[in-house]
């Protein structure tokens, strides 16, 4: 399995959220501002990569009977480390994501990749799998955030960008974001759980539509190629 294919799988054809449909709880719960989405996405990316590497390295030592228990212990360990580090160095993100950081322990993406990929594959591919799957997850979170934040509160980059005194990136979550339209026009319902379901459903539908369209195109091209071959053969004959 080469890198390019893994990258494509993580981002599109086997995207954790939009195709495998795992890790949807956090996807719907925290995607209300770009700050939250990026923070959560990067946290999961780091934890996923660490867990993938650790589990892949241990894969020969892990007995099949208790593999799930060991996966959970390893995952819980890494999640707690990231949680402690966030509390110590980015307290704003820790406060903003609250319980959803510890909840990464039960995020299906991590145990799902351990079960489906890392327990069979060597460390190298597992490392890249963690990076790319985590990246695919982050991209979906960021899309959700952009849509919900824009339509819900009318801003872009809430918590992350501050433009009151020139353009500035705020890592303490204090930036108000760039206002695209006045707050009164924002549909607050999109920031509520209902909005999470609605946005995720729309993204899923769009993804399925795009995947099916590209599959159809591919099939049509193949068929056309076959017809060409047959025609050529007929001509030659």
């Amino acid at each position: 399995m080469n890198l390019k294919q893994q990258f494509k799988e993580g981002l599109i054809t086997n995207n954790p959220v939009l195709v495998q449909r795992i890790g949807m709880c956090s996807t719907m719960a925290i995607t209300t501002s770009l700050f939250n989405g990026l923070g959560m996405g990067l946290s999961v990316l780091i934890i996923l990569t660490c867990c993938n590497v650790a589990i892949s390295a241990l894969r020969k030592a892990i007995p099949n009977d208790i593999r799930l228990a060991i996966f959970v212990v390893v995952i819980a360990g890494f999640v707690t480390i990231v949680d402690l580090l966030l509390q110590a160095y980015i307290p704003a993100l820790s406060a903003s994501l609250g319980v959803f950081i510890p909840l990464i322990v039960v995020n299906c993406i991590i145990i799902g990749r351990a079960e489906a990929f890392c327990q069979h594959e060597p460390v190298g591919p597992s490392f890249w799998d963690g990076i790319f799957q985590g990246f695919g997850y982050t991209v979906v979170l960021v899309c959700m955030c952009l849509i919900r934040e824009l339509l819900g509160s009318g801003t872009f980059g809430g918590g992350l960008i501050d433009i009151t005194e020139g353009f500035r990136l705020t890592l303490d979550g204090s930036g108000a974001g760039i206002r695209i339209f006045p707050e009164t026009y924002g549909a607050t319902i999109l920031l509520m759980p209902f909005g999470g379901f609605l946005t995720l459903a729309s993204l899923l539908a769009a993804m399925q539509y795009a995947l099916r369209k590209s599959a159809e195109k591919k099939e049509a091209a193949e068929r056309a190629a076959k017809v060409e071959v047959v025609k050529e053969a007929a001509n030659n004959a």
């Binding site: 009164t184 026009y185 549909a187 607050t188 319902i189 999109l190 509520m192 209902f194």
Partner: protein, 346 residues
């Protein structure tokens, strides 16, 4: 020689009437005219503008979605126009034109067309649109313009509280909210719900045209009346309390125009009574204990979700099967189950 008579052989329906979806929808539109006329008088020409935007957006979304998805055209049946009318009726006049567009989009595309179009939606589109807007723009949806008849009385404010807010807070009604103003429509509220008289006129027309039956509205309003009469409220005369509850808010509009929607209410006759009673009970429950003063729209939406279950338990007996037969069949089924259980345990 006897002459042989030829019969035409055809499958049902065997009798056709002139009544079709378009005609029924036209009747509903006609029935809504008095309410919206009162609304226009009370809240100004803005009502007509919002109505135009709502209707146009509903029709546009209906046409656009069917076109985009390459489905048959359905704009001609006027159901989208009715949704536009009803949506306008359940919005406050302080709503903005773009809210009408968003509400129409949610009602037509998300609630109606995504489930297959007319007759296949399980929620009332206009009410779902209102619920969406209420959650999205609570500020606009709970600010009530002052009706024309009260503009001389209430001069120091741009908006005012509805009779329902007084009922909700349990404080005494100001004198300008009396039976006369409640009945004729001199109160703040949604554009199509203020005048009980206009709604009753429209309802009478629909009943006369046999577009709706008496069952659901009677059960709905009756349940609200009985429950209010039983429970009453501190500081109010029981009869006053009941009458105020019946005349304020969207109760009458909801009972006659929303709860009777064909595709989102039960088809069985007993089912319609249960549906109405359920709407009434939920309305009272929300008005007494909810966090919004008004509960009619949510009550109807909740009961919409239960309509299939109501239909299922009230399924009528097959023609030619007596009550005893049904009982016997049930008994036999029970015994068969018992036997199967015994057989399994042995």
């Amino acid at each position: 020689m006897e002459e042989k008579k030829l019969f035409t052989v055809s499958s049902n329906p065997l009798v056709r009437t002139e009544r079709d979806t378009t005609r029924i929808m036209l009747d509903v539109i006609i029935a809504l005219v008095p309410s919206l006329a009162v609304g226009t008088y009370m809240f100004g020409v803005k009502v007509l503008l919002l109505l135009a935007v709502s209707v146009f957006s509903c029709v546009f979304f209906e046409w656009g979605y069917r076109k985009l998805m390459k489905k048959s055209r359905s704009v001609g049946d006027l159901s989208a126009v009715v949704t536009g009318f009803l949506l306008t009726c359940v919005l406050p006049s302080n709503a903005t034109w773009w809210m009408c567009v968003i509400g129409a989009f949610f009602a037509i595309v998300v609630v109606k067309q995504l489930y297959g179009g007319i007759g296949k939606n399980f929620l009332n589109p206009a009410l779902a649109g209102r619920a969406f807007l209420t959650a999205a723009y609570a500020g606009f949806m709970t600010s009530w313009a002052i009706p024309t008849t009260l503009s001389a009385t209430v001069v120091d404010a741009a908006t005012m509280a509805t009779p329902l807010s007084y009922l909700y807070a349990g404080t005494a009604m100001p004198e300008y909210f009396n039976y006369g103003s409640l009945f004729l429509g001199g109160i703040p509220g949604c554009m199509g719900e203020v005048s009980a008289l206009a709604i009753l006129l429209g309802a009478a027309y629909l009943l006369w045209r046999k577009v709706i039956t008496w069952r659901t509205p009677t059960a709905f309003i009756g349940t609200v009346a009985v429950l209010c009469l039983i429970f009453g409220h501190e500081g109010y005369n029981r009869l006053d309390w009941t009458a105020f509850n019946l005349l304020s808010g969207g109760l009458l509009l909801g009972a006659f125009f929303m709860a009777t929607d064909y595709s989102t209410s039960p088809v069985t006759l007993r089912g319609q009574l249960i549906f109405g009673a359920g709407c009434g009970a939920l309305t009272v429950l929300i008005r007494y204990f909810g966090s919004y003063p008004e509960g009619v729209s949510y009550a109807i939406l909740i009961m919409n979700c239960c309509a299939w279950a109501v239909d299922r338990v009230t399924r009528p007996r097959q023609f030619g099967v007596s009550a005893e037969d049904v009982k016997a069949a049930k008994q036999a089924k029970k015994e068969a189950k018992k036997k199967a259980k015994e057989a399994a345990s042995v």
